[in-house]
Amino acid sequence: MAQRAFAIIAALTVAGAVIVPVAAVLWRGGGATALSAADWAALRFTVWQAFWSAAISVALAVPVARALARRAFWGRSALISVMGAPFILPVIVAILGLLAVFGGNGAVNLVLGGLGLPKMDVYGAHGVILAHVFFNLPLAVRLILQGWLSIPSERFQLAASLGAPLFLLLEWPMLKRTAPGAFAVIFVICLGSFAVALTLGGGPRATTVELAIYQAFKFDFDLGKAASLAVVQLLLGGVAGLAALALARGEMLGAGLDRVVQRWDGSRLVDGVWITLAAAFLLLPLGAVLLAGLPGLLDLPASIWPAMLRSLIISLAAVVLTIALALPLATRAGEAASLLGISVSGLVLGTGLFLLLQPVVRPQDAALPVTLLVNVLMSLPFVLRILRPGVESAEADFGRLGQSLGLQGWALWRIVYLPRLRRPLGFAAGLTGALAMGDLGVITLFSRPGEGTLPLLMYQLMGAYQMEAAYGAALILVGLSLGLFWMFDKGGRVHAEV
């Protein structure tokens, strides 16, 4: 009972931390503004591209995750880690990596040209979706892979020995449980797209709500409009969250002996093709980022060290806070509340926090806590998506056992649940750390010179014509993010056979 109250309080806190700043901006802006025809057009495009980006990411993730779940090969674990990298790349770096492969003079066009075929033009709505799938396919694969690995291996053995249809019996129910949540979280991330949509969309046809917010804030200083658009984002995110939760109801499969899956079904060839295609799609642009960054490493300024240190500290603090908040929030209501955090524009959130804090503290003194808070809010939806299935099945499968042994509260968590949650916890911590590392955040209102993080330093280098050094900084950023991700993720898998 106490635990339930705790969960409700946590959910309300998270929702409040998003809604109150938006309300502050709305209040300061003198209330809501009606949306113009251009705003509605932007809204339609935003929802359209987010829907297809999420649908395609999830659809492609299913065969890839299945292939990874049932094949063992050398380097599989490293491949799974590295394939997660696009999700944590800074936007601008990811765009340059993608263009090195799909752009006008990119690898694909070189091959097409060599074969005498017409060139492909990446710019347009398809380019936006391509980029969003590049960013989010890794997340979808990991979320669904986790679902596959959660099916007790005894079930597969039993089903196989009885000659029962594996897909209908075991995999389809699991997909019904995991896919809507993955779809919702990716849909909501893509709602906030701005630079990716604009650059790969090829121009004003690809205008998103976030661009309209940026314009309202930076040029027009129309806070009422910025806040009104943020409210629309909140509503969309809220609807997506509730819909996913309603769809994602499904039967639990019950407990097995809690071991890793061993499989002998399916075609090796088909699985191999899926894994190769996904790896190529995700890793080639990363390779381009690596190549572009290497020469710049020599040009990096000494200030890269303190910037790295600050980024690391923010990352680690975000990991601790996010995980601490996520455990009580791992309920349906908690997950729905957390989706609000990524649906709302970071710019509006930052402005709201600025308005709220400015009467009390000097904004520059609040820079670090604000950055931290925003990072936690932004990571929670992913972390909960990763943790909640594990928490629920641990409670369903082992809760009664624990209680019958007289375990309660923290002891129950420590002895029974947390060991069951190692793998998702490691993955969630890794993702949070990596996301916080790459986040430029909403801190432009709060920042003070000379105290920037790694992404900020990268943007400053670009702004000062030093593109090579900027790519070098980006490479370090990606390396650190991946290192942090790998460390936590691996930590979660110690003693596990996968």
Binding site: I92, L96, F194, A195, L211, I443, Q460, L461, M462, Y465
Partner: protein
Amino acid sequence: MHRTLLTAAGLMIAGAAASETPVLTVYAPDYFGSEWGPGPSIEAAFEERCGCDLQYQTGDLLPRLLLEGKNTEADVAIGFNTDVTKRARESGLFAPLNLDLAPLTLPLEWSDDTFLPFNYSHTAFIYDNTKLEGFRSFEELLNAPDDVRVVIQDPRSSISGLALVLWVNAVYGDKAEAAWARLAPKIVTVTQGWSESYGLFTDGEADVVLSYTTSPAYHIIAEEDLTKSAAIFEEGHYFMVELAAKLAGTDSPDLADQFLEFILTEEFQTMIPTTNWSFPAALAADKWPEGFQQLPMPESVLFYSEDQAAELREPAIEAWRSALSQ
């Protein structure tokens, strides 16, 4: 324990000493205060003159000032662009200048009583002169074959993108939309800001990028690379100037005045070219670095006053949007 007390006392003394040094708080855009921007050398030079402590607060300049209103800690704000000064002026947050503007060396008449120019440049299309012959006019660019790949910035999110639509408006007037329609097939894409565009250009994803007449100076001076040129158009180029102003509510008006005077000195102005990669606003051309002296200059300069710019902004953006949305 003893040690802690001593440290605490030491800190208090240090704090007291620090509070005796007057502080001048300067709000500036992020690039300005970064270690590659002009901020750090300006800070060192001014602190030597004033015996004060100059502290930058960087970030979104005007939005932050408007959010803070009369409570702002800023004494001086530096880094405004003319195309948004109307909004700044109307806020009533800024104090009139009391400065002699005679030292200005801008390519046009300047008599603003509030905002002081400190550097300028012009919008221009930059290309690789080993691959393209260049363009002598806007018309030549519009007539270029459609496989010339151009990248520009979005006028709704970027100040240089906004300058471009005003430039097109100044050259083509009510035929601006038709001009955009001719340019549209050559535009590979539109980016949020200048950095993304310039990155696409240096990566070879575009042949021509919207930037500034001063951009080649960076490649000449910092990289000894002579292959980047600005296409100089006979129709003229849109003028972009950056400005500074004193806050009306400053608690150190004398220091703020002293800083604004410092802006017009040779010491300040000689720091601008190679840190901000733009022309100094008050320095004779023969004192510019060599790389700047050899830059070709536009023969005529196009410019809208802030009132005109504010009025034209929406229709100019709309002409751009509707031509590029076809």
